[in-house]
């Protein structure tokens, strides 16, 4: 067997012998999916949404129709439609949606500070419809203003699970790469395991290629296991034909390579495990928060959106949603594919130059 295959085989076998690693790669994401779906997927008992129509007119009717279409997919949401004014809103408990008659004014979604906990379950579905614009701390703890109707229309019929699953795949690809693979490499270096590699007749690129290959296969396996479980349990409503599977394979493969290459680059020079954990956290939390994975991006400042869209995580998740639910062609997700390719090539290239075997 060639050296490359031997290294890859050893790494793959070792990985599958590590029950801790298997749990965090395959089981934990599924548990996270169940947890988030339980909390925000509408299976948590009925939630009352008071819809205050501040003025009649075609806009209010259209918006209510859209909202009922959208939120109707979330189980257990009860709409209570009534006319109201701004002045009596403070007496309401729970979620209050106010639709002004004036089309130039924005629709507002309000959650009162003493609202029952279950009310918050409707926030995520509502946030799928809308984008967070501003927070009025003086009167409400949490205030959401609805953006243009057109955006709501696009999201019609879109369930939280459908939004969440591609986002979770993206999140697990980057978290496994950073916390699983990157820290593993730095730990090995810190323990002195790579000293031997420096002395063996082994080129760095062969080691990096073998490691990348096995970890790529692991990420690919995870993604499809996760998709299958998610589809069976929650019904993603994607049309899983050969064309879609082909496009998903390409997208997930490129995504896995992108985040792997990033992990390798970070691991290439960092010598202390504590430092790599810190860097991984610094990268992971802002990236997952701002990348439209499980929190809609709409309400973020433009600069945040711009930066987030230059990082491959958000475009990856968006592209996955587009090809799964909207039947997008590869050309439609060319930005995501191009961006990930650039990141992958740059990170691998730098890794080959910078990677060190030893900490000294």
């Amino acid at each position: 067997m060639s050296l490359f295959l031997q290294l890859a085989a050893i790494d793959l076998k070792s990985y599958f012998r590590n029950s801790f690693a298997l749990f965090f790669t395959f089981l934990f994401p599924v548990l996270l999916l169940f947890l988030l779906m339980l909390a925000f997927g509408g299976d948590n008992g009925p939630t009352k949404i008071d819809v205050k129509v501040a003025g009649n007119g075609p806009r209010a009717e259209k918006y209510m129709e859209d909202m009922q279409n959208i939120l109707g997919h979330s189980q257990g949401i009860i709409f209570n439609i009534q006319t109201a004014t701004e002045t009596n809103m403070a007496n309401e408990k729970g979620v209050v949606v106010t639709i002004p008659a004036d089309a130039t004014q924005k629709v507002r979604i309000l959650v009162q500070k003493d609202a029952p906990l279950s009310s918050f379950n409707s926030i995520y579905p509502l946030m799928l419809v809308n984008s967070m614009q501003e927070i009025d701390y003086e009167k409400w703890d949490f205030v959401l203003n609805v953006v243009e109707d057109g955006e709501a229309e696009i999201m019609q019929g879109f369930k939280y699970g459908q939004y969440l699953i591609p986002g979770l795949i993206g999140m697990i690809l980057i978290s496994t790469s950073l916390f699983g693979f990157c820290t593993f490499l730095v730990e090995q270096r810190a323990k002195g395991a790579f000293k031997a590699y420096h002395l063996y007749p082994l080129q760095k690129w062969k080691f990096i290629a073998a490691f990348t290959s096995t970890r790529f296969l692991i990420l690919l396996a995870f993604s499809f296991v996760f998709l299958i479980v998610a589809d069976k349990v929650y019904g993603m409503d994607g049309v899983f034909n050969l064309a879609l599977i082909g496009k998903l394979t390409l997208l997930i493969s490129l995504g896995a390579l992108t985040f792997l290459s990033l992990a390798l680059l970070i691991s290439s020079r960092i010598m202390a495990v504590g430092m790599v954990t810190g860097i991984a956290n610094l990268l992971f939390y802002p990236a997952t928060f701002a990348s439209d994975l499980y929190i809609p991006q709409g309400g973020f400042p433009e600069i945040v959106k711009t930066i987030a869209n230059l990082f491959p995580l958000g475009p990856f998740a968006a592209a996955m949603r587009d090809i799964t639910y909207k039947g997008a062609a590869l050309s439609d997700i060319s930005y995501a594919l191009g961006l990930m390719s650039v990141w992958t090539i740059a990170c691998f290239g730098l890794t080959l130059v910078l990677f060190k075997w030893t900490k000294d």
């Binding site: 067997m1 060639s2 050296l3 031997q6 290294l7 085989a9 050893i10 790494d11 076998k13 070792s14 990985y15 012998r17 590590n18 090995q188 323990k191 002195g192 395991a193 000293k195 031997a196 420096h198 002395l199 063996y200 007749p201 082994l202 080129q203 030893t358 000294d360």
Partner: protein, 305 residues
């Protein structure tokens, strides 16, 4: 290019964050010989070897290995195939099985000695994962990875420290065979007399620099003393006149007093005067013998400097 020396260190300097600095100049490791490196803990033995192997950041390094510069040596896969190193810490991924390490070795070097596989008794642990091995078993795997391709240059860092006596004896026999029959050059960092017994040359390192580098015989005869007399002074421990008396013995090279015991090193000619001293002080417990590896190690560690 020196055919006589497998490693030539013209200049090697390392400095550390705590302010300590190691400096090794003009060290030549003989080809086809076993060189033992001894010295107290923390004196720089492992650092020296790892610096030569390119595993340490150095501030100055002018090193030639097998006729080429250190950089050239490690940039060539062919050269690396001629190197076998057992490092102080064997820290391979713990989920790997021994049989997979054996396969990896074969894939790395393309050749593998059945004798070394058998002598290190790897068959009996081949199905075990590294994290399930004892310290001695791990050391056997580490030694296999260093030796099984019969490299021209071998570096070993306390190779038998975790081995049982039988396995240690097998290792010693194996190393002797590799030098005698295969022409290997071996560097051993050691604290063990039976490892030092097979060394052709001895290099002592104190406080980050070379103190002596001689053939083992020269080191014993000229530096330490070919004979070793010991006195166990007991309740006469505090009598300062004994040491004055020892100083007056001809042919004594050095003597040390520690824990109710005086060690005297010198040539064979000191025997008569030594026995007279024993008689003069009425000492009941004493010995007189040829200096051995245990003595060398003791003098190089207990009485360092």
């Amino acid at each position: 290019m020196s055919q006589q020396h497998i490693i030539q260190v013209k200049q090697l300097a390392l400095s550390f964050e705590d302010g300590t600095a190691f400096s090794f100049d003009n060290i030549n490791i003989s080809r086809g010989k076993i060189t033992g490196i001894i010295g107290p803990n923390g004196s720089g033995k492992t650092t020296f070897v790892e610096a030569v192997l390119g595993l340490k950041n150095t501030s100055k390094a002018d090193i030639t290995i097998d006729g080429v510069t250190q950089k050239e040596f490690f940039s060539s896969m062919k050269n690396r195939k001629n190197l076998g190193s057992q490092l102080q810490v064997f820290a391979f991924s713990e989920m790997v099985k021994v049989s997979e390490m054996v396969s990896l070795h074969k894939a790395l070097y393309g050749t593998q000695s059945k004798r070394i596989y058998d002598d290190l008794a790897l068959a009996e642990i081949s199905s075990k994962r590294l994290d399930k091995l004892s310290g001695g078993q791990k050391q056997r795997v580490s030694l296999f990875m260093a030796l099984a391709h019969m490299p021209k240059l071998i570096t070993l860092d306390e190779p038998s420290s975790a081995l049982d006596k039988t396995m240690a004896e097998k290792l010693i026999a194996l190393l002797k065979y590799m030098v005698a029959e295969q022409g290997c050059s071996i560097i051993i960092v050691t604290h063990h007399p039976y490892e030092l017994d097979i060394c052709d040359e001895v290099m002592t390192i104190y406080a980050g620099t070379k103190a002596y580098h001689e053939t083992r015989d020269d080191f014993i005869n000229q530096i330490i003393g070919a004979y070793h007399a010991q006195i166990f002074t007991g309740d006469q421990n505090d009598d300062p006149t004994i040491e004055t008396a020892i100083d007056n013995i001809a042919h004594v090279k050095q003597h040390f007093r520690q824990n109710g015991q005086i060690d005297i090193f010198g040539s064979a000619e000191m025997e008569a005067d030594f026995l007279a001293l024993v008689k003069q002080y009425g000492l009941k417990s004493y010995s007189f013998a040829q200096t051995n590896s245990a003595d060398i190690l003791k003098i190089s560690t207990s009485y360092a400097g």
